[in-house]
Each structure stands twice: as C-alpha cells, then as structure tokens.
C-alpha cells in the first residue's frame, strides 16, 4: 500500500486525499469518510514549538475573584483557619469561606469601612462558635529579635505569656485589637 510518511508536511487527511487524487492510493482508508463528515476544529498540522523572546508573554490570564482580597486579609490576620480542608467533600465550606460569605453579607447590608467589616465578620463567626486565633504579624527589624524571643516563650508556655503581648501587638495592630479579653478567648484550647 502506498503512503506518505511526511508527518511534518500537511495533515494525514491532506496527504491521503492528495494521494487518492493522484491515483497512487487505490483504496480509501476506513477513517477518510468519517473525517470528511466530521473534521476536527483544528487541522492536525505539525508546528514547531518556538520559544518566546524578549517581552512577549503568554496571553493566559490569572484567575482572581473579588473575594480574594478578603481571603488575603483573613489569612494575613488568622493564618490558615482552625479547621482543616476536607477535599473529598465537594460542598465543603472552609472557615475562610464562611468568613468571606459573612463579610459579603455585611457589605450588602450597606457597610463600607473595610476594617469595620472585617471585625464585624469576625464577631459574627465567633457568635456561631468558630474561634479565630490571630497570628504574629510581620514585625519591623528593631522589634524583630525581641519579639521572636517572646514568641518562642509563647510557644512553650502558651497560656501564661498572653498578658505581655497586647502592648507589643498594639503597635502594628492598633485598629484590629478589640480587647485583651478576646485574645485570651482565642488562645484558650478549643
């Protein structure tokens, strides 16, 4: 049986069609009519993959949602939430997702101040029984060594070091901190 083995020239269809037209290939292959009736969306022609040079970037867009900003703030404040993600369940709602939904609900009610919304959403989750523990925020270089020592001691004796922290935390997180009482509630073992 005659054939053309040039996979870099045209597609299998064009090669077969031309061979048949030239009379070289006597029998139509089985798939020929089917291909004719239902051609693919792109003709399977060989293309040499070329690298992109200079400033050329691929046109693929990043996928971001408006909720991502809320999620970023949540993770910055509370680290990964108290509950682990259950990926087997397709309808699983993580703590962060519940937080985001509360936030959006409150936003729809008319609130505009981001800080207030954040705090209110946190309070609403607390009311439902979800306890959120704040994490140590990124510190400046001067406080760095001092606070790292403090946080180590905090890690060892989690209950006692609590009272020393509010004065330190007040500096970077003045707007978020409601009361030391909330801290102690947050850090008590769940």
């Amino acid at each position: 049986m005659a054939g053309s083995r040039l996979e870099t020239v045209g597609s299998i269809f064009t090669r077969t069609r031309d061979l048949i037209r030239a009379g070289v290939l006597k029998e139509k292959p089985l798939w020929f009519d089917v291909y004719n009736a239902f051609p693919p969306l792109r003709e399977p022609v060989f293309r040499r993959p070329r690298l992109r040079y200079g400033k050329a970037k691929s046109p693929t867009q990043d996928i971001f949602y408006h909720e991502d900003q809320i999620r970023a703030k949540f993770y910055a404040a509370y680290g990964s939430g108290p509950k682990a993600f259950d990926l087997f369940n397709p309808n699983f709602k993580s703590t962060c997702q519940r937080f985001v939904e509360k936030y959006i609900e409150l936003q729809k009610l008319g609130e505009t101040d981001e800080e207030k919304l954040f705090v209110e959403a946190g309070k609403a989750l607390l009311a439902e029984g979800v306890i959120l523990r704040r994490v140590e925020k990124a510190r400046t270089q001067q406080e760095g060594s001092q606070v790292s020592r403090k946080s180590e001691s905090m890690g060892v004796e989690s209950q006692t070091a609590l009272e020393e922290n509010p004065p330190l935390k007040e500096v970077p997180q003045a707007q978020h901190l409601e009361s030391p009482g909330e801290e102690s509630k947050g850090l008590s073992p769940p």
Binding site: E7, I12, W31, P44, R50, T60, I63
Partner: protein, 293 residues
C-alpha cells in the same frame, strides 16, 4: 484468526482475516435461482454502502453528547492542569486561566473536543475499525487494558518498541493490519516526552484521539481532548466514555445489519437514528429486544 478481540494486550493480535466478504451469501441454488444469486452480491454491496453512509448524515448518530456534561467533567477534575511553568505553548488556547499558578483548562472547549472525539471513535468502531489504546502511565495500565478488553479492542501500555508501526511487517508479521484509530490516554511517556506513537501514527496516516494535558503538544493529534490526564477520576471517566462509545457503535452496527437483512430490499430510514435517550446500560438490551422480528 477468528476473533482477535480476545487478546487485547498483544499488538500482534491485530492480525485479522482478510476483509470480511459477503461471499458466504452465495448459496447453492438451482436453475433460475442463479439469477437471484447474481443479484445477491449487488444487493449486499448496496446494503453495506447504505449501512456505511447512513450514520454520516446525522450530526450525532450515536448520541455521544448525552454521555457527559461540563458538570461531570468538572466533578472528575478534568479541568485541573499542571503548574504554569510546565505549560506547553500550543495548549494556551485551551487554557481558561491560571489560578494561583495552576492552569485551569476551559471545559467548554473540552466538551466540544470530547464530543468530536467520541463521535469519531464511534464511527470508526461502527465501520469495524481496529482501535488501539495507548498510554505509558503505569498507574493506569491495568485500567486501560481492562477497558480495551471489555470493548473488544486493543491496548498497548508497555514499552513501545521503535518501528512497531513504521516497521510492522518485520516486527509483527508479513500481513498485519495496523490500527485504524489510536486513542492516547496519556500523550507523554515516562520521561515527559511525546510518545513515539503520536509521531508514528502521523507517519502511517493513522488518525489519533488523545487526552492532552497542559504540558503536552496537541499538534499532531487529529482529535485532541484538552483535559487532565493525571487524576484517577479523570482517567476513569475518559476510559468509561470511550468504552461506552465503542460498545454503542458496535451494537448499533449489529442492529442495522440485522435490520437491513430482514428488510431485504433497501430499507426505510431506521427507526432510531439516535440511540435512545435513556443512557442506562439496560438500553442496549432493550434495543436488541425491540428490533427482533
């Protein structure tokens, strides 16, 4: 070789008898029946031509659209691609976007491509074509081989010897019939290079259907299906879809042949050009019952 379908693992089992002829129809007849005998082959070829041309007139003769939906593809995690650094340049048109560095495949496009691929597979199976399932992923080797066995076709999930397709008479025997369609569940081999069979099938003018992930090259594949080829649910879904398409097509062929044989003269438009709406496996049994005389 009687039914080569019994040994799906060996490509050598692809050796089949010469094209199934209608010569058996000519029986021992007397006298004037000789004229009838002369008419038989004409009617047979006429019938077979009609059987072959009938499905091509409908856009979805085997109703493959009902086998899947965008939601079922999503649930099988078909939309998850590799990280953005692994992306192949030619897969960019099929990618919806990149979520935190992971490429997400556009399932709308996947659905269209998958419908075309399943339709083509079904038509090839309808015409009695040999289908070869190829993959080099060891995790799914058993699954693919059993899929091929269950639909009566062939699979090659082991090391692909060079020249298996291009030098077949030497490696497999003098008069081997090569596959009429190659289905790739994984286009890459174990060192993340394109499988040799992709290029060889293009050389031998064998159409290919392939699941292409975001790190694969879809150029030489006739009917690429952009989708995840690494997650087990995704591969299981694809195997199941191809198996159903092939089985349906073969069943349809049996029915049409029986129908035309019974009707004798050129039959009317077949009763159910599209497979019945019920996608249940019981549908095939019902069809068989419905068409019996």
């Amino acid at each position: 070789m009687a039914t080569g379908a019994v040994l799906p693992r060996l490509l050598g089992a692809g050796v089949r008898a010469a094209p199934r002829g209608r010569a058996a129809q000519r029986g021992r007849t007397l006298g004037s029946a000789a004229a009838a005998a002369a008419r038989e082959p004409e009617r047979d070829s006429d019938r077979s031509a009609r059987i072959l041309s009938e499905p091509l007139k409908h856009s979805d003769f085997f109703n493959v659209k009902e086998l899947f939906s965008v939601r079922s593809l999503f649930n099988a995690r078909v939309h998850l691609g590799h990280k953005a650094g692994c992306r192949h340049r030619f897969m960019e048109p099929y990618i919806f976007g990149s979520r935190l560095g992971q490429d997400i495949i556009d399932l709308e496009q996947t659905a269209t491509h998958l419908q075309l691929a399943l339709n083509f597979t079904a038509h090839v199976a309808f015409r009695g074509g040999i289908i070869l399932f190829v993959s080099r992923a060891r995790q799914f080797s058993h699954l693919i081989e059993s899929t091929a066995r269950s639909c009566g076709e062939y699979a090659h999930t082991r090391y692909f010897k060079g020249g298996l397709l291009t030098n077949a008479p030497l490696l497999l025997g003098a008069r081997v019939r090569l596959p009429d369609l190659i289905i790739f569940l994984h286009t890459l081999n174990n060192v993340f290079e394109p499988h040799v069979a992709v290029r060889d099938a293009a050389k031998m003018s064998i159409p290919t259907v392939g699941v292409v992930d975001t790190n694969c090259n879809p150029c030489l594949i006739t009917y690429p299906v952009p989708g995840n080829d690494d997650s087990p649910p995704a591969v299981q879904l694809f195997c199941q879809l191809f198996q159903t398409a092939v089985t349906r097509a073969k069943e349809k062929r049996r029915q049409l042949e029986a129908l035309y044989r019974l009707q004798g003269a050129p039959g009317p438009h077949p009763a159910n050009p599209a497979a019945p709406g019920a996608p249940s496996p019981g549908a095939q049994a019902q069809l068989g019952v419905g068409h019996s005389p």
